[in-house]
């Protein structure tokens, strides 16, 4: 039998970048095939070539044994290939059903939209693939996990046999991830071919029949899921053993840096998001905030950084009340912030590396001279130093950060925030979407800051991360701190129970 997809010697270059270097990639019918690699390894480019978004410089593509010229996504769709992008292509104000039929609306008398038939058809495909979702709900009201499900339903509705999922888990909570995996298994049972792009070893290993590893635009190898393990995949991916453990110096200071008392705040809809939060962080301490996303973590971080108003309670930094201080004043008083959403909050993507590195200090010496003139010489010197110290991979200091990979972007943010010599770092999902190398770098930097006497508030949906880094773990549930635990004296079961709202002994 012919393979569903066969890509032969695909080469794709961009100015100065060899994104795909003679890549051979074969996917058999009905298999779930993982495409694994660090950020910038060429996974997304390869899939964009397959989906007709890019034209390869060299190489051939065969679908079901026939050579095809993939000149546009329309061609790909016609050949039964569908892609779920990292950023969803949905119309927020339309309903689920309307989004699913978009572009293929069933019509009565060729003119009128046949909504009954629509609902019937869409419902049928929901049931067939075991993907449940309220068809009449508006997209904007749905959580990300369900929006993704709509994306999948949409491409299935178009009669897709081969699904490309681009980093599908990067935006999902752990619960949503397990839901997604169920769906992927259901698709496999229905005979669908799935290409699963990811850089998360565990996920790929748990869901994929076969795994192809890319590194620097080349194929390292293809292995069977059954015949491999985490260590081997990691080695293939980065070419070395990944260290998952950190050696931390014992905490020396017991001086309280941040003290939060009875903190309350509202969310966007005006409903209580924080319902009385109390905790302290000492110098040389990492407090990890664990919890299912959406339990007030985002609001907590925003309230602490001054981006959201506290309705009640107090925030004390080194015994100074900063509850009413502006974001600017908080930066000045020693709070650094690594935001959860680095595209939206962390970087100005059209700004150069240099411009991004001085954000927040741009109006102060040595970057600004008398009268607010920018000192480009000093700024450039500073930028060169940070590019070296933080191994920021960029062509020049003037490159817009938009052109950098996700991991490099996070290095820019981290470089900026750490070099300010903060007393407190608030890091929210600092390694989300990053490859193994960048993740390790970010984590080791946070530990290094802690060892130097900095207080660190780490908010992460990744329990392994919390576990590996935290001196104490606070579990957030429904706008409150459910409990604070010593990582040495707690178990995964206990934390899981607390995260789900249960009481523990």
């Amino acid at each position: 039998m012919n393979p569903a997809i066969q890509m032969k010697a695909i080469t794709k270059t961009f100015p100065g970048v060899l994104a795909n270097d003679k890549i051979d990639f074969v996917v058999e019918k009905g298999e779930t095939h993982g495409l694994l690699g660090e950020n910038g390894a060429g996974k997304t480019v390869l899939m964009s070539v397959l989906y007709g978004l890019y034209q390869p410089d060299e190489g051939q593509i065969y679908v079901n044994g026939k050579e095809v010229k993939m000149d546009s996504p329309a061609t790909a769709i016609r050949l039964g290939i569908g892609m779920v992008h990292q950023h969803f292509m949905l119309v927020p104000s339309l309903t689920v059903a309307e989004n699913i039929i978009l572009g293929r609306e069933p019509a009565k008398d060729k003119v009128l939209l046949d909504m009954d038939r629509t609902l019937r058809e869409v419902k049928a495909s929901c049931e067939r693939y075991n993907l449940e979702v309220d068809l009449k709900a508006a997209i904007y009201a749905l959580p990300v996990g369900l929006q993704q499900r709509v994306e999948i339903l949409k491409i299935l509705y178009r009669g897709t046999d081969i699904l490309i999922l681009d980093e599908p888990t990067s935006v999902l909570t752990p619960q949503e991830v397990s839901e997604l995996f169920k769906a992927v298994r259901a698709l496999k049972e229905q005979g669908k071919t799935v290409i699963f792009i990811s850089h998360k070893l565990r996920e790929v290993l748990s869901i994929c029949d076969k795994i192809t590893v890319l590194k620097r635009g080349k194929v390292v190898g293809t292995v069977r899921g059954k015949d491999t393990n985490l260590g081997e995949l990691a080695k293939m991916m980065v070419g070395r053993e990944v260290i998952y453990k950190f050696d931390k110096r014992p905490m020396d200071g017991r001086e309280v840096v941040l003290k939060v008392e009875g903190l309350k705040a509202l969310d966007e809809r005006g409903l209580p998001a924080l319902k009385g939060i109390d905790f302290e962080i000492c110098a040389s301490e990492i407090l990890g905030i664990a919890g299912v996303e959406g339990n007030g973590q985002t609001e907590l971080v925003e309230t602490l950084t001054g981006l959201r108003k506290a309705t009640e309670g107090k925030i004390l930094l080194n015994n100074t009340d900063i509850t009413r201080a502006s974001p600017y004043e908080r930066i000045r008083s020693g709070i650094s912030h690594v935001p959860e959403d680095r595209y939206k909050r962390g970087l100005i993507s059209d700004f150069s590396v240099m411009e991004n590195l001085i954000l927040g200090s741009h109006n102060r010496p040595p970057f600004a001279k008398w009268g607010g003139r920018l000192d480009l010489g000093e700024t450039s010197k500073y930028t060169q130093k940070l590019i070296n110290d933080f191994s920021i991979k960029t062509q020049s200091e003037d490159t817009p950060t938009r052109h950098l990979s996700g991991g490099t972007q996070q290095r820019v943010i981290l470089a900026r925030e750490i070099s300010r010599e903060p007393k407190l770092i608030i890091a929210s999902q600092p390694t989300r979407g990053l490859d193994v190398g960048a993740t390790e770098f970010v984590r080791s930097k946070l530990v290094e800051m802690r060892d130097h006497g900095c207080a660190v508030l780490l908010v992460s949906a990744d329990l392994d991360e919390i576990w590996a880094l935290s001196d104490r773990i606070a579990v957030m549930y429904e706008g409150k701190i459910a409990a604070i635990r010593d990582p040495q004296k707690t178990t995964e079961e206990e934390l899981g129970l607390l995260m789900a709202g249960g009481k523990s002994g």
Binding site: Y328, P339, R345, R373, L376
Partner: protein, 357 residues
């Protein structure tokens, strides 16, 4: 010698990058004239004659050049006004109104004080124009930051308010004796010197060019400009970086309005020497187009304004010499804007050209 070599190579690379930036604009302009030629042929005119007449009208003699730059001057101001607000992420499409209130304020300042020396009177009148324009920018800024009213609507509406308010002012309280709705002439001490008599070209053009440089410097080389651009590109990230986004927006709109107001003041003090109702044939709207044609870059804005000025002044000569209706100028302007704002098309044509070449 070596330093000189470095300097010339720097200038050369700067020119080269400038040309590269202007590439789509230049092609858009050529395309516009090409399509314009088709229109001319279709209506029974000779495009060659018309364009030559236009070119010689705009640049052929002292009078034409004076006219061209006179027309370009207020458009430079309004385009810079649009550009500055745009860099802060705001669409100030009310430069027309800001220009008009600035013009009236400058006229009143020019009339009111008789016995002050020119070196005080002129700056004072210019300042009055800038303040009035700034006030016209402040109102939509407050409406936006306090109430969330979109500046596209408010700046445009306030433009009409400005038109009718100033019209009322020069029809009633400040009307000069006679039939025309205008103020009395300003004092001689408030007159901006004309620099190419007998044309109306005044020193206002130097102010315009100076402001282009000033705005470039402010945006690229100052902490304030940095904050303005950061706000324009990504407000949430700017906010996280400690920038007071609302404050920057208010300042940007006020400065934007002030620049347009200054342009109006320049018209009154340099060209008309009084406020005449309806003196602006739509400089504010042209400014928007010129800002886009100029690639939202201060130097591009100057060049694009000269193009628009040339179309206006050359157009009249063309009509006189060849009988081609003046409407072709409007068509050409529209085509330039159309092609500039259709960069996809230009890029496609460039790519095809490259494949063939």
């Amino acid at each position: 010698m070596e330093a000189q070599g470095v300097a010339t190579s720097k200038i050369r690379s700067w020119l080269k990058s400038g040309l590269e930036r202007a590439y789509p604009q230049i092609i858009a302009i050529l395309l516009a004239f090409l399509v314009g030629a088709v229109v001319l042929v279709a209506t029974g005119h000779s495009p060659q004659d018309a364009y030559i007449a236009m070119l010689s009208g705009a640049f052929g003699d002292k009078y034409g050049i004076g006219q061209t730059f006179t027309q370009a001057t207020p458009i430079i101001f309004t385009a810079l006004a649009f550009l500055f607000a745009f860099k802060c992420g705001l669409f100030n499409i009310g430069a027309e109104g800001q220009l008009i209130v600035g013009a009236l304020a400058a006229a009143l300042a020019g009339i009111s004080f008789g016995d002050v020396p020119a070196f005080i009177h002129i700056p004072m009148a210019l300042l009055a124009g800038a303040l009035a324009g700034g006030l016209w920018g402040l109102m939509p800024a407050i409406l936006k930051t306090r109430l969330g009213a979109h500046e596209v609507i408010t700046t445009m509406m306030l433009s009409y308010v400005a038109t009718y308010l100033t019209s009322y002012m020069v029809n009633y309280p400040f009307k000069a004796p006679g039939w025309v709705a205008q103020t009395v002439p300003i004092a001689a001490s408030a007159e901006l010197p004309r620099i190419l008599s007998p044309t109306q070209l005044s020193a206002s053009i130097f102010i315009a060019v100076a402001f282009a440089g000033l705005i470039f410097y402010c945006l690229q080389r100052t902490a304030f400009g940095y904050a303005v651009r950061a706000t324009g590109l990504n407000p949430p990230a700017a906010e996280s970086g400690g920038i007071n986004v609302k404050r920057e927006m208010i300042l940007a709109l006020v400065i934007s309005g002030a620049i347009a107001g200054l342009g109006g003041a320049g018209e009154v003090l340099g060209v008309h020497r009084r406020f005449i109702d309806g003196f602006s044939p739509g400089y504010g709207w042209d400014g928007l187009a010129v800002a886009l044609v100029g690639g939202l870059h201060p130097i591009g804005v100057i060049l694009a304004a000269i193009l628009f000025g040339a179309l206006r002044s050359g157009g009249m000569t063309m009509t006189r010499a060849t009988g081609v209706p003046l409407d072709i100028v409007t068509i050409l302007q529209a085509l330039v804007v159309l092609f500039v704002t259709a960069p996809m098309l230009i890029r496609y044509l460039v790519r095809r050209g490259r494949y063939r070449g």
